[in-house]
Symmetry: C2
Subunit: 235 residues, 2 copies
């Protein structure tokens, strides 16, 4: 059954890149790029990613296996316009997706077909529509939300995400672009609850896959003093 | 050999409590408390914590084992004044620490001795002094930095922390008090690097223990195109 999934590499303090580039100088010299490169280094070093990019070598370890599995599981992708635009040149004639990609955007554009099975369809009627179009062509595989963070938050906010896999990189950037920003529209004393369903560890990154259970009110307990914590008290 | 360690329970989005209580109404009714209770619930439900508080029952699972281990490893504690003041009444005559506690504060106060081996010594000449005083009486066990977040950031910023164990609770609060705030004094393109040395998983919380390696400059790689990524390229 098709699930809607997302992957994101983040620092220990929740950033997926350094502070947003303000347009001064080139992006590659920015603190945003320096943070982004650090957070995604484990991907770049993996043989599975390199193979999809046409590069040789790379590590064939537990981290690389996660990347390979992620590519295999996806039957279609949903992506933000910033990421699609930023990738258009570096991904070249044969992008690594090898599946239909639906780009959420306000600017209409004709479908862009690339070698190896990748196509980019520009969806102007919202993220829910993009997810539905991706689901229709995923062939029973997963719909993978590919980022960036703003799109992923939209998908979470709309209650469309089934599973989220975080790749937690052991570095603290201090400042930067946060995956979980304050725009999730949570009410006071409301949280989004999840359940960890798989943890894979390596010296370079901790991979935690979560099932998203949904919004729940935050309730108090009696801090263990009485019988108010169901199932945990011995009378 | 004595290590300086810290433990912190945080939400998936890095908060250890809800948004700071502004003093309106009672703390227990605040969003800060609602978030704090959610994040620390796994501790409250553990038999090891309940035993130290004089409460009966509780779960005796992998999470409780982590709490027991944490209490056992600590020979002395360092704590912020807010946490010490907030705990003074609820901890009662026999606080759960059973070891000397050094409280970092600007306000001098006489040593407070409690039953069961716990004492509170108020240190007015800074966090480094508190850590040194704790180390001197830890008897070869660890010095545990007990929070809150502001104190823990001071200790990290001063380069005094050897190990950090994060207990990542599968909930997203959206807003609140963050462990990793922007006041770590990191330079542009500088990060604090860590190495995960133990991961313990449960359905309720993921425990990751990190060794803190220190500050490092963020450097770019060639994204796999050439020979610039040492050890990963096949010529």
């Amino acid at each position: 059954m098709t699930k809607v999934t997302a992957q994101m590499s983040i620092s220990l303090d929740g950033h997926y890149a350094g502070p947003r580039h303000d347009g001064t100088g080139s992006w590659i010299d920015s603190a945003e790029a320096a943070g982004f490169y650090r957070i995604t280094r484990w991907v770049i070093d993996g043989a599975a990613w390199r193979g999809r990019q046409g590069f040789q070598g790379g590590k064939d370890d537990v981290d690389a296996a996660i990347i390979g599995e992620t590519f295999e599981a996806a039957g279609a992708y949903v992506m933000g316009r910033n990421m699609a635009d930023g990738g258009e040149v570096p991904w070249g004639d044969e992008p690594p997706f090898r599946a239909p990609v639906f780009v959420v955007t306000h600017r209409p554009r004709e479908v862009l077909r690339r070698k190896g099975g990748t196509s980019f369809t520009y969806v102007t009627d919202g993220v829910a529509s993009a997810v539905e179009q991706a689901r229709a062509v995923a062939g029973g595989k997963d719909v993978a939300i590919s980022g960036g963070g703003t799109l992923l938050r939209q998908v979470i906010k709309a209650g469309l995400l089934d599973e989220l896999e975080l790749h937690i990189v052991p570095t603290v950037l201090g400042t930067g672009m946060r995956l979980f920003d304050a725009d999730l529209d949570l009410a006071v004393k409301e949280a989004i609850e999840l359940t960890p369903i798989r943890v894979v560890q390596s010296p370079r990154v901790t991979h935690i896959r979560y099932r998203i259970d949904g919004r729940e009110p935050l309730v108090l307990d009696d801090r263990g003093r009485g019988s108010g914590t169901p199932g945990t008290d011995t009378p």
